[in-house]
Amino acid sequence: MDLDTIIQVLDSTIRLSTPLLLACLAGLFSERAGIFDIGLEGKMLFSAFFSAAIAFTTGSVWLGLLAGMVASIALSAIHGLASITFRGNQLISGVALNFLASGLTVLVAQDWFRQGGRTPTLEGGARFEAITLPFAESLRGVPVLGPIYADLISGHSILVYVAFAMVPLTWWVLFRTRFGLRLRAVGEAPEAVDTAGVSVVGLRFAAVAICGALCGLAGAYLATGLQAGFVKEMTAGRGYIALAALIFAKWRPWYALVACLLFGLLQAIALRYQNIDLGAFVVPVQFMDALPYILTVVILAGFVGKAIPPRAGGEPYVKER
């Protein structure tokens, strides 16, 4: 494999990892605060649609992004209502929201644009354009590093850089700020937070809202960064992969980056090398397609050590009855 090919595969990895990473960090905030969320998929989808729809109608991708985040946060609010306020089952709420997003996006899209559940193609200012970093062109000539900078690091849409910047930011927020301390505490021992005079409900809603905002970014990236419009079910299971990456990452930001890059890489390889001919037999495309899922299972089977979720995760905080 030559350098170009490697760069191309890695380039593809970055693009495929970005939505995973955003969703994974979203899940990280929520689950660190003790709220499990298998509704990442639905939130991304919701945001993908609303960001594309608003970007199309207003012609501004930034308004679209805002709309996508608001829509995603709205779903988060329902999840919060169900799992925080009414102490419902968090998994079920997530499943329901995934269904809701999958149905409602198409329903609204059809009612709005009459194009069979998709938005019209976005053009110009309604899309995120790739950003060329300074000196990318002039440095291209430098051996090895030049192409890496120009082709791999430069030339992505702004949301990619935002996503990668979110990793240190998340780490910093969680481990260096008051909010982060409280957030981690509420996922481990909500009663400790409560008796320390801090609102468990408030913290958890804040975490869920951040989760919504990040899923909003992920969805908007899919529809307005990677693509030029919304197509039904366009998240195609990425929310679930992000969830697996989160477990793989043991709920830690830097590990999340590694996990998402790994899954992105696997997908990039599966896309580029279908039907790998091993001489004795041919690995079918179906196998390559399923590889990320198989690998997740292998990882979960404990070959990377035990992943212990936040102690209060998945359980509603109940002090009376």
């Binding site: 008051r178 409280r182 981690r184 400790a192 937070v193 008796t195 005079g197 102690r311 002090k319 009376e320």
Partner: protein
Amino acid sequence: MTQPAIELKGISKAFGPVQANRDISIRVMPGTIHGIIGENGAGKSTLMSILYGFYKADAGEIFINGKKTEIPDSQAAIAAGIGMVFQHFKLVQNFTVLENVILGAEEGQLLKTSLSKARGVLKQLAEDYALRVDPDALIENLSVGHQQRVEILKALYRQADILILDEPTGVLTPAEADHLFRILEGLRDQGKTIILITHKLREIMEITDTVSVMRRGEMTATVKTSETSPEELAELMVGRKVLLHVDKKPAQPGKPVLEIENLRHVDSWGVERLKGISLSVRAGEILGIAGVSGNGQSELLHVLGGMTTATGTIRVNGQEIDLTGQHSDGQSRRARGIAHVPEDRHHEGLILPYTAWENLVFGYHRDPAIQKGWLMDNAGIKAEAAKKMERFDVRPPNPNLAARNFSGGNQQKIVLAREIERDPDILLVGQPTRGVDIGAIEFIHKEIIRLRDKGKAILLVSVELDEILSLSDRIAVMFDGRIMGERLPAETDQTELGLLMAGVTEKPDKPLIEAVDEQLKAKAQREARNNV
């Protein structure tokens, strides 16, 4: 005249159908230690949690230093100068001591300043009140006693003037409890007001200035400690005269039925919990295991009851039993005639949503006698259950009621009825009277002794020294996974047992608490090492 530091007026609180507090009024003067005493479930914790803003009262008013104060949440309580150490600590296990102390009382948005400030304050507090803890240790690596210190530090860090402690001594060795009381006295002398919840009469008499008694959600009396007696308090607590000791004939021990040699157990975290236990229990005797909880007693019961694996030898009636492998589980032990009344009836002994009759065969449900072909003979089981409930005076005697709907004492009777009525050779009993009212305690003690008098071997684990002393025919003391020594009840006392419970085997030349603390520190450090 000085204002009371705390005055509660007409506090009521219901949890669904349970009236936990009914129209309670109480006044506590500043600079005093006020005791609250009452049976399990009397509503002590609830009342204090209301004062701390953890629960919201249905009715009633709170006055702090004479001023009416609304306490809708713990934030308000902290602002009013109240600190509370809960019965179950409210600490974040994988945070450090410092992080736990500043949680909710941080200065500014960033942690750095808060952490360095807290470090200084903790140092000062440690000197002022003899409250030393390593600020960078993780909570999960601290002994319970030190965790309690962290809770007290949390309150002091928030500049509490009123400190509430909910059953603080339940988890401590006698020497540690003593040390705690010295700290509390120090705090009182600095002008702080302290409320101490306990159900141990001895402690009330020892340290409090005034005492209130609660019974079934009501406040039955408030008296000066110097003007009352343990007998009077017990009567106020229970509502009738209570026998404070157990009647029993001397034991007639036979040959050893249960022999344990060099038993070792490593838990799932890799920590060695049993470090070579050797014991034997003879027919017709009760062997009591004393110890502060967390020193391997639970693990011992779990191994004997087949819930976990171990190495070493266990012989039942001379026959060795499998300790790992496929044939080592609860079923195999039952087949050998070992019955087990577990320490935790809610999580081990009972399936709370199951009905009484279902619970009365729990663990014995594979017995061929209660099967009808492929199915379970539910009608037969029910009839049998009704008889057992009758005999053990379970109230109400309704086999169709779910276990969770019985009171603690009656739940415990269901477990005992199930295990004792199988007529086992060996009975393992853990904390038989934890969370059980005094009437039921008397009944349960009698049943255990009756079984002993039938010539059965009984291994009793309890953290209540009184219970150990009054029931056992022989006492073994456990500390840190080892047996520190065996004593006969007639030849020992609380002080000696208390030292053994802290791992101190010889009469120390230094002050008691230091000897105890040294042992506990060594133990905590061993565990911390094991955990990494």
